[in-house]
Amino acid sequence: MMRQVFSKPEKLVVYKNEFFNEIDNLGINSLPIIAIISFFMGAVITIQAAFGFTSPWVPLYAIGFTARDSMVLEFSPTMVSLILAGKVGSNIASEIGTMRVTEQIDALEIMGVNSKAFLIMPKVLACVLINPFLIIMSMFIGILGGLVLGVLSHVITVYKYIYGIQYQFNSFNITYALIKTVVFAFIISSVSAYHGYYTEGGALEVGRSSTKAVVYCSILILVFNFLLTKLLLA
C-alpha cells in the first residue's frame, strides 16, 4: 500500500493544494485544543512538583527544571500525540471511510486517479511536517502555563522558575522529542488512513474503523515511545 501512496503524483499542483488543505485541517485546527491542554498540563506538573519537593535540600528552581523536562521529554511529544491520535486519527479514518462507503474513492479510481496517493500522501506529509511545530508550541505553552499558574498559586517565583527551566538544559532532549513526534505523526496518519481506506459496509463500519484507528494508533504510539526511548536515551 505504501508504495502506491508514495508513487509519483499525477499532477503536482493538485497534490500541493491538498497538502496545504490538510495542513490547515489536521494541523492548524488542532492548535486550540493543544494550547489549552498544554497550558494546564504545565501548570499541573509545576504544582505537583512543588507539592512533592518538601525537603529543604531540594532547591525551589527544581520545580521549573522538572516542569521543563517533563514537558519536553514526555508530555508534549507523547501525551499530545495520543490526543492527536484521537482527534486527527478519527478525523482521517472517518473521512476516508465515508469516501469509501459513498463510492467517492471508486469515482477517483474510475477517473484514473491513484486514490491511495491522492487521499493518503498529503495527509501523511502534512502530519509529519506540522506535528513537530505543534509539539514545540505545546512545550512552550506548557512551560508558560507552569510559570503563570505556579506564580499565581504562590508555589514559585518568576525568577526561580526561569532559572529552573534554564538549568542544565540539554538540547538533545529536543531532538529526542522531535524524533518521537515525527514517528508518532507517521503512525497516526498512516494507520488511520489504512483503516479508513479499507472500510467495508456503511455508517456503522465507518464508526468502527474510526475507533479501531484510534485504538491501534494509541497502542503503537506507546510501544514506539518505549522503543525510541530505549534506543535514544538508554
Partner: protein, 251 residues
Amino acid sequence: MLELKNINKHFGERHITKEFSCKFEQGKTNLIIGESGSGKTVLLKCMVGLTNVDSGEVLYDGQDFLKMSIKEKQHIRKEMGMLFQGGALFDSKTVEENVTFPLSMFTEMTAEEKAERANFCLSRVNLKNVNNLYPSEISGGMKKRVAIARAIANSPKYLFCDEPNSGLDPKTSILIDKLIKEITLEFNITTIVITHDMNSVMEIGDKVVFICNQQKWWEGTNENILHSDNKELGDFIYVSKFLKELRDKQS
C-alpha cells in the same frame, strides 16, 4: 467499442456471473437489466476494474483491460466517465470543483478554461447558478445531473451509469434518461446503463441485455423486447397487473 468475453465471477461459493459475453457499440446506449441482486452492478464494476474478475476478458477497442498494468489501466480510465448510484460527488468540493476535478488532474487548462468547461457541462445537464453550492446543499436529482456533468467533463469515450434513476421521481428519471441518450449521441460515446426501470428501457435502450440466473438470458432492442416470447423476460417486464392486462389486450 467494449466487449466482454466469458466473464465469470464468484463471491465465495456464490456464483455472480457465469460465462457472460456481450458487445457494446459506440454511439449507442446499452442497457443491462435484471432483478435486484442479479449481479448487474458487480458486472459493471468488473468492466471498469473496481472488482476483480475470476476469468474472462474485458476488451476496450480490442485491448484486454484485465491484463494491463496499473499505469495502462489508469490511462484507459481517463477515457471513462461513471455515474454512480448515489452520485459519489466529493463532499468537500463545490459543484464546480467536482466538475473541474478531472480537468485539474489530467489537463493543462487554465482556471478560466476550466470554469468555462464546467459551465458548459452544467448547462448541458440543465443546471445553472449552482457552481458554488456543496453536494449537501442540492437535491438528489441535481446530484445525479452534477455527476453526469463531471462524467462528461473530460470528454470520455465510455460512460457507465449505475442505476441512474434510483430514488428519483418519474419526471426527473425521464429527464436523466434523455440526457444520457443525448450525450451518448452528441459525443459518440459507448454508454452502458445498469437499470431495472422499464421506462428507461423503452426510452433509451438501443440495445438491451437481460440478466437472469447469473447469465445473459436475452439480448435485443427496446423495440423487440415487448414482443419477446422469453418466459423469464416476460415475467420481469410484465410484473404489474396493469402491464399484464396491457399485454393480454395486445395479444
